[in-house]
């Protein structure tokens, strides 16, 4: 009998250290499935981030390179330029990519570096224990925003829509935002990731998939409450869809971005 669904080959068969209800496990699986389907496991280099997902090298059964916090796109630039025939996957969280590594992501995208960034946006710092992230929503509480993110009086700034920001750069070819809150959105996110990976292997420019992901522990919610909060608060602000898709040559710029209402 043919086995139709099982543990992805590119994921090591161990129990993860992630908290119950965390999105990393699902996102890891989507990446591994795409790698398996493309048959590129032995040509994949995973850029291991700083944050909760620093454990990724325990889980992905492929070579990995771990770089300083925020420098993943710089490290990946070096890796991909030396190994242009490999699938290079950057895995970054919101603090890593949108705070300490803002310069690196912007310039890697602008150079059109031919790797893929999977950007996990859970609107909070996970590993360090729930500090405010650049993507923390206005009013959302964090250990460093105890009364909620306050852009005005406390001067905490506004949540950054990274994908839309990068969409203005000529080096970017495919920018999408998915979510892992429902089975339908998980499936769509998988399609985005695979599309980006395939584009990378065809050698087109910079590709990135942002994934909205729950962090029940640091949001101080149950896993089901966290999914509901993501749906009710994050998706209205961070609209889902293919924000920029220039994979077929013609620019299909951001209708999704215009439809999205501001929070």
């Amino acid at each position: 009998m043919e086995k139709l669904y099982g543990h992805p080959k590119s994921l090591v068969d161990v129990q993860s250290k992630y908290c119950p209800g965390c999105g990393h496990g699902v996102i890891h699986r989507l990446i591994a499935e795409a790698i398996d389907e493309m048959g590129v496991q032995d040509r994949t280099i995973f850029m291991n981030p700083v944050g909760c997902s620093i454990w990724a090298d325990l889980y992905f059964d492929c070579d990995s390179v771990q770089v300083p916090h925020g420098r993943t796109p710089a490290g990946a630039t070096g890796v991909k330029r030396m190994r242009p025939d490999h699938l290079v996957v950057c895995y970054q969280g919101d603090g890593d990519l949108a705070a300490i590594g803002t310069a690196e992501i912007v310039h890697a995208a602008n150079r059109g570096e031919k790797f893929t960034v999977v950007f996990v946006n859970n609107a909070i710092y996970g590993m360090t224990g729930g500090q405010m992230a650049p993507t923390t929503l206005v009013g959302q509480k964090a250990t460093t925003a105890p009364h909620g993110r306050d852009p005005d009086v406390a001067g905490m700034g506004y949540p950054i829509r990274v994908v839309e920001m990068l969409a203005t750069l000529a080096g970017t070819r495919y920018l999408a935002r998915g979510s892992v809150d429902t089975p339908a959105n998980v499936r769509k996110t998988k399609q985005y990731i695979k599309k980006a990976f395939e584009a990378q292997m065809r050698g087109v420019g910079f590709t990135m998939v942002e994934v909205l992901s729950p962090c029940p522990t640091n949001w101080q919610m149950s896993p089901t409450e966290a999914v509901d909060w993501l749906k009710g608060n994050m998706i209205p602000y961070y609209g889902l869809g293919e924000i920029k898709n220039e994979l077929d040559g013609a620019a299909v710029a951001a209708p999704a971005a215009e439809k999205r209402g501001a929070a």
Partner: protein
């Protein structure tokens, strides 16, 4: 190729030597006084189909070096003092993950933005690790354009052999001056040592029928005893480097009444002072460290045992002199003369100070 002699700036000679050593990838960011090096690499790396990127920052450039080397390439960056401070993050990570690379520092005067004139003020930073954590890097100190080329060429091999970043510690004067240089032959890329530890290329090994295990290039070990064991293993390697690599040049040490200890530009100044002294019938000598880490401590100790006194001469407020004192272990007098702020000492003022010391009119 070995008779390939050219008149070049130090910065350009470093670039050409790196290319001939098989540098696959260069990442840099503009900063004076090393800009000719980045421009040289832009022209000749791109023309030969290699990787050149003008990075968004020194920090990013260093992580690009780390990535390129982790993926099996020979990678290099260059900068000057303020930029080298920014690179310390990546240098610490490369040291912790045993990723070889070459970092050229064409030193200028600090602290802070300081000035753009030559300095040796980054000695502590270069020889004590420089970033966070327990580690050392090999540090090479050229005194001429020729030696800048030779040491840069060798730096790539040393980095790979010892799995560590190698710092070429030049200064603005070495970088900017022009001298004749005999360039080394271009390295045959096919004859490089294998990098079985690098990321990527598993598909090739799979085709040959023996899939190698996966490689993780990583400096993180959260289990304290395991991290300690890893650092201790690295320090055993450092002990072997100290045993094998310490390198120096000796000038007139046996006859000398006073022995200079100086490297790089200051060694040239001291050599001039030695020649001036000779005309006056005064015998002076010099120990010139070529490797600053490992420091040639055994030679300093030997000269100290022989009853000589030392004068360390630096373009700093006194950094290397501490290593001279450590090596002399109180068995010899060690004095210091230094200029800073981008001032290069003159042969005359160095000689004057040496004479004052010998007359008992200066020093400790």
């Amino acid at each position: 190729m070995s008779d390939d002699k050219r008149l070049m700036k130090g910065n350009e000679a470093i670039g050409e030597a790196a290319i001939r050593a098989g540098c696959d990838a260069y990442f840099g960011y503009p900063i004076t006084p090393q800009n000719e090096l980045t421009a040289y690499m832009a022209r000749y790396m791109l023309d030969s189909g290699r990787v050149f990127i003008q990075a968004e920052s020194e920090t990013a450039a260093m992580s690009m070096v780390y990535g390129a080397s982790a993926a099996g390439g020979r990678a290099m960056t260059s900068s000057s003092s303020p930029g080298i401070s920014l690179k310390q993050e990546g240098i610490s990570y490369a040291s912790g993950a045993d990723v070889p690379c070459v970092v050229v520092n064409v030193q200028r005067a600090g602290p802070g933005l300081g000035g753009i004139s030559p300095s040796q003020g980054d000695y502590f930073q270069a020889t004590r690790g420089g970033g966070h954590g327990d580690y050392y890097n090999i540090v090479l100190a050229p005194k001429s354009v020729q030696e800048a080329a030779d040491l840069t060429y060798e730096a790539f091999d040393l980095a790979e052999k010892w799995r560590t970043p190698v710092i070429v510690l030049a200064d603005g004067l070495i970088g900017q001056m022009m001298e004749g240089v005999v360039l080394p032959p271009a390295r045959d890329a096919g004859k490089r040592p294998d990098r079985p530890w690098a990321a990527g290329g598993r598909a090739e090994t799979a085709r040959s029928g023996s899939m190698r295990p996966i490689n993780h290039i990583c400096s993180m070990i959260l289990d304290p005893p395991a991290l300690e064991a890893s650092v201790r293993a690295r320090y055993e390697r450092y002990a072997r480097i100290e045993k094998e690599l310490g390198r120096f040049e000796s000038v007139n040490v046996d006859k000398a009444r006073l022995v200079f200890v100086a490297y790089g530009t200051c060694a040239r100044v001291c050599l001039g002072a030695i020649q001036l002294a000779k005309k006056e019938g005064l015998e002076l000598g010099m120990v010139r460290p070529i490797t600053l880490w490992p420091f040639p401590s055994a030679e300093i100790a030997r000269v100290a045992q022989a009853g000589k006194r030392f004068l360390a001469v630096e373009m700093s407020m006194g950094q290397m002199v501490q290593d001279v004192r450590l090596a002399a272990e109180g068995k010899a007098k060690v004095d210091f003369f230094g200029r800073c702020g981008g001032v290069v000492p003159s042969e005359e003022e160095v000689l004057d100070y040496a004479k004052k010391l010998l007359a008992g009119a200066a020093g400790a």
